[in-house]
Symmetry: C2
């Protein structure tokens, strides 16, 4: 796909930022209004910070990286602090970033000590000749770049550890079921934390008409160590191209990898002439279900169209455009 | 992209197998006819074995995995035994496989003890609920599946070690230059082993009309440990879909990842209506060069079209169709 110039806009583009905090099965029956407000407020706060950056002329790349860094720092979401535990009681984190201006990208997988994996992904993009580092080498690269390192236990929280214990008590293997909600403790958020779909991400269109995307995850509770999903895979969980669209995905990672879901949205726009809404719906409601994929994606096109599209019961999501008030949601219909 | 039924063929499809052993800068001036014959004979032998399998009705998946296993076992190519050394004097191997029948896929990255990484990739696909494992966990999974493990030194050869030593003597960092050919020892093959493009791969169309692709690599000489290229990334270095095409790539991995090169060929066919030759040329001669990408790909379409397309000076490559004699080549023009 060409790194072509975006469609010219009359004057300055009205900037857009969209974020997600994962998708999955809802636990509405167990939810309290207070817990819901906590999630919505966290997303709104991050959108407002990004809106201020964009209004000040910040680049889309800087805005998505900062939004994902804040999502990583927020314990509510499964990325960075608050990441889920592997079956071995450890944390393994993955992240990626892509700059639509030049199709540059960076990714890390299986980091265990780098406080903000999205910053490591950006450092790989900007300060190495490579795109992806894995494991201890990724942490070492991040440390050499001056990025904060933490003890692995820093990522953990009481709530996440309780999730692991429940998973290990109720399942013999990795977490597969989306049922049995009665066993979920009150520590869970509105979306079933035991589903495989914990990820955070951001996409932005800046005032100069450039696009960027970033994605980060703490993996899946009780997963087998060493498993990598779509979050650090360019074209699967993350893609940005000024000629078409910026996309960040969340869901059953393997299906998004088999579908090349993020790039597929871009390809449908570039080659089949679909607008963003049609392209996102084709991927989320046709291509992903064909390979058993559950989850969703957020996307913003070069023309400023927004899609927040999912085939699961819910997705933590929000967006802000220009100087409008942010919109945030968990349940309900997909779309802007 | 849909996992649709392949285009119906009049009777049984004439099966096709294509393989590559890497692409890059040529060292023709330093080459001996004997050395060239050694490379060509190795590829021809592997094609003949695959041809026999296909004639006996073997599935494309089995044929590409076996072809790549043989390429891994061959010291001439940078995958499995004969893999290049990292800057740390170690070996890190990556592989992937995809089955066009159902879009199932498997991958491993950073394995150091599994004798045949392509078999590990297949095992991940078939015997786990995941798609990708990295590092020691990938080796452990392979071992638990009964796949042969070796001491890391098994992958090394005298010739590869000499390459590392030369690289470390002549460069301060990773191997970047494609010049200075006078310093290349006679141990090199026809293509400059110091280029970043060592990979092997196979694509096949079987008599039932199914497609499959597999890719494997030993990485790049003197690379920073932990770097992962396109070879284990579904959509970048490997893709197969019965509705369109099977693709295996080789080249400067980062560019293939940024381009989602393998999936891009499929998308151009499915969405833009290009035939295989046009789609492969668009990717290899337009999209990849736009991001600095050098190398090539092999592909076979659901209709039996073959493309062996590269923008570098040479690519070890060959193909066989039905009961015809295999065709193998190193230099020259791309195409069947």
């Amino acid at each position: 796909m060409n790194a072509a110039t975006p469609t010219p806009t009359p004057e300055r583009t009205r900037p857009v930022l969209a974020i997600h905090g994962g998708a999955g099965t809802l636990l509405r029956s167990q939810m309290t209004p207070a817990k819901e407000r906590e999630y919505l407020a966290a997303m709104e706060s991050i959108l407002l910070a990004g809106q201020a950056q964009l209004a000040a002329g910040a680049a889309a790349l800087d805005v998505v990286v900062e939004a994902v860094r804040r999502l990583e720092e927020c314990e509510l979401f499964n990325a960075g602090r608050g990441a889920v535990y592997t079956a071995a009681g450890t944390h393994e984190l993955d992240a990626s970033v892509m700059d639509g201006r030049n199709l540059q990208a960076g990714a890390v997988a299986g980091v265990t000590r780098t406080r903000n994996p999205v910053l490591a992904a950006r450092a790989v993009m900007q300060h190495s000749e490579h795109l992806m580092f894995i494991g201890a080498a990724a942490d070492a690269f991040a440390a050499a770049q001056g990025l904060a390192q933490v003890e692995p236990a820093w990522f953990g929280t009481e709530a996440r550890l309780a999730q692991l214990r429940r998973a290990q008590e109720t399942d013999s293997g990795a977490l597969l079921d989306h049922d049995g909600q009665s066993q979920v403790a009150a520590a869970s958020g509105p979306i079933d934390e035991r589903s495989k779909t914990g990820t955070v991400g951001a996409v932005a269109l800046d005032a100069q008409g450039h696009l960027a995307a970033a994605t980060s995850t703490g993996g899946m509770t009780n997963k087998r160590p060493g498993r990598v999903g779509d979050s650090p895979i360019i074209g699967a969980g993350c893609y940005a191209n000024d000629a078409t669209v910026a996309v960040s995905c969340t869901g059953t990672g393997e299906a998004f990898m088999r579908s090349c879901a993020a790039f597929d949205v871009s390809a449908l726009m570039a080659y089949a002439g679909l607008d963003l809404a049609a392209a996102a719906e084709r991927v989320v409601h046709q291509h992903l279900p064909q390979v058993g994929g559950s989850g969703g994606l957020i996307a913003v096109s070069a023309r400023g169209e927004i899609s927040l599209c999912f085939n699961s019961e819910g997705m933590y999501r929000g967006h802000v455009r220009g100087d409008e008030a942010p919109a945030v949601a968990i349940y309900g219909e997909a779309g802007e």
